[in-house]
């Protein structure tokens, strides 16, 4: 039983990673209806930025704060300079998806080029203690990451459901044309969505990097697919869904690795999610689609 509990705890640790990236993916998807393949690499570059600022002598909190701010601006600029012009010219989403794949390749390669293959250590915001409860153990970094995730998801939900900005974001997500008609500046709202997602990526990187000892440019590569899975499970336009989805994927994976074999853990996690999707085609909290002719 304790072993089972420990596997679940381990799963939550990986789950935090998936959930944090899934949140960012969902934010962009809600706003623009696009899958941003570069989300993970944007977060990775932000993490290098945090590390660079820390290395330059800034305190960790200040370094992270600046990195989040810079990432927000960077994300907004990517929307304005790259994604929006391409979307405006395209007949469907495919060119935007390909542009985001281009961005993925470019950012990953850029980080390898600038920082080389050596790993970098980013200290945890929550110290590096280990918490023990009976025979169970987990790191304070994991607990902190879980806490931050829940707080962020709740804050984003509040932002979307209780503020004017949030209302505008939801309106744009529902229909850009109608939003424009009621005087919402759609462009700014889209930029804000991408900016928020990028800022979230910077935070995610700072939470994830300490749990992997040292990070390199592959920090988010294997995470991306699982974050997509998490977002899908959660319903793709639901923020709490993304967090729950991430944790579920993490736990599924950990249990499959613990009780089956490591090489089957991905198949097991995906089969469970697929089975779930067949029962609920729009995920856990997803909005059912309305079909119009």
């Amino acid at each position: 039983m304790t072993l089972f509990a420990q596997h679940v705890l381990d799963g939550l640790q990986s789950g935090c990673i998936y959930a944090s990236l899934a949140l960012a993916i969902v934010l962009v998807f809600r706003g623009t209806g696009t899958l941003n393949f570069a989300q993970g690499e944007m977060a990775m570059v932000s993490t290098y930025l945090t590390w660079t600022l820390l290395d330059a002598g800034l305190p960790l909190v200040v370094a992270l704060g600046s990195s989040i701010a810079i990432s927000f601006v960077g994300g907004a600029l990517i929307e304005r300079m790259i994604m929006r012009p391409i979307a405006a010219k395209s007949a469907n989403h495919l060119p935007v998806v390909v542009a985001s794949i281009g961005l993925l390749l470019a950012l990953n390669s850029f980080a390898q080029w600038v920082y080389g293959p050596d790993g970098r250590v980013l200290p945890s915001l929550f110290g590096d203690g280990t918490i023990r409860a009976g025979s169970l153990s987990f790191t304070s970094a994991t607990v902190g990451a879980l806490g931050v995730l829940v707080v962020v998801a709740a804050a984003l939900r509040l932002l979307l459901n209780r503020t004017k900005v949030g209302l505008a974001m939801r309106a744009v997500a529902a229909s850009q044309q109608s939003s424009r008609l009621v005087g919402i500046r759609v462009g700014r709202v889209l930029m804000a969505g991408w900016g928020l997602a990028a800022a979230l990526g910077a935070l995610a990187g700072a939470l994830v990097a300490p749990t992997v000892t040292a990070f390199d440019s592959s920090l988010m590569q294997s995470v991306l697919v699982l974050a997509f899975a998490a977002a899908t499970f959660g319903g793709f336009d639901s923020l709490p869904g993304a967090v729950i989805g991430g944790l579920v994927v993490g736990v599924l994976e950990s249990l499959a690795a613990g009780y089956l074999t490591t090489d089957l853990k991905l198949p097991v996690a995906f089969v469970v999610i697929l089975g779930f999707l067949l029962i609920r085609p729009t995920g856990l909290f997803g909005t059912p689609q309305v079909q119009r002719v």
């Binding site: 420990q6 990986s14 080389g116 790993g119 749990t211 390199d216 090489d263």
Partner: protein, 456 residues
Amino acid sequence: MIARPSHRRLIAIATAVAAVATAAGCGSSTTGSGGNANPATGSSGASTSAKATGSAKVDPTTGIINAKYCHNTTDGVTSSTIKFGLSHPESGPSAITAKSAIGVKAYFDYANAELGGIKGHQLELVTKDDGAQAARTVQNVNQMLEQDHVFGFVLNQGTPNNLAIRDRLDAQCVPNLLLSTGSPKLASPIKHPFTLIANATYAAEVNAFVDYVAKVAPGAKIATISENSDFGKSYTVPMVKAAAKKGLTIATQQTYEPTDPNVTSQFTGIRGSKATALFIGAAALKCSQSLDAVAHAFKVIYLSANCTAKGIVSLAKPENTQGVLSESALMDPTNPANASNPNMKLYFAKMKKYAPKDDATQSTTSYGWTEAAILYDILKASPKLDRVDVMNTANHLTLPDNPGLLQAGVVWKTDTPSDDFPVESFRLQSWDSTAHRFTPMPDLISYEGQSAQFAG
């Protein structure tokens, strides 16, 4: 509006026929010019046939390759140059190992400028990125043979990568020298005479670990963590054999996928197994992660030799790395005790001259330098710069004078078919987390002549 498929089908058939006809037509007219591009691939029909000719090629008692079966054996040698190829990961998570090419390049530059090249030929090196994918290694090797016209390969990296190109290089009689791997699978001189590994085998490392555990912690239970791949299996399989021989039990053998974000759940299994000695057979950042995930008192923690770059070990927290064991046959460039060694002095002086921008204290770079020095000695000992001669020399050679940065007492020796493992001795070393380097133990461990039996 409705397409008439019959017409289409007709055109399809017509074009297909046309294609074959044209192909046959232009084919027969140019076989003369195109045909000699790869006469050596006469046996290329199948890898099975390559195996058959492979055994006929080599005398099973002396291990000498019969030159009769090889063609174009001086490809890659011009009147003034000899060219070598090197395929390794320059991108992706394994890219940290690409620094060894810096050492090779520096040695080549030094040999060209100050030793007059090799037998009057300037050494050239072509490197290509394979991202650690075997299929890309195959492509790189094709391209380097046919476009760059290399003489042979040196320090090609990775176990699956070298297995992928082995049959082809055997069939074409192209030396694949000093592979950067310790997989005993790649040492089978009679079947595959053109392949020679560079490192002490992973199996020898495992035996050193087991012998040490049996000595300092008799009755210990062993846990291993390794990659879920053939690379990982080259530790875990000999471990079972070696532990049984010494009467030690294996508590658990955990594996991870290279794509796993962390190794937490594997260590949950290791902690649950109540093991007292840990063997980490990982690669790159997974080594650092494993060290940090330990957080549990083991009597012995051993880190496989390919994790020993200081850029990997020092990433883990100091309290988790103090006293961690590993193995090396090379002198550590960061150890002040080696500073007065003439070979070490030469290394630093020439690195400063020929690779001034690169960090000479990286153990991967000094490893590349050492292997290039060994390659130079092999070429020097070979009667001619001919692929068969070079390979016959490499397979029957003793280099007693510690080329490159080989430690005192380590003998580089091959004698096919009885010995296809050039490096079989090394020293254990333990990590000093205040000095950020390994301190070698005084005793030389020698498994000379035993490597072949270690493999499971």
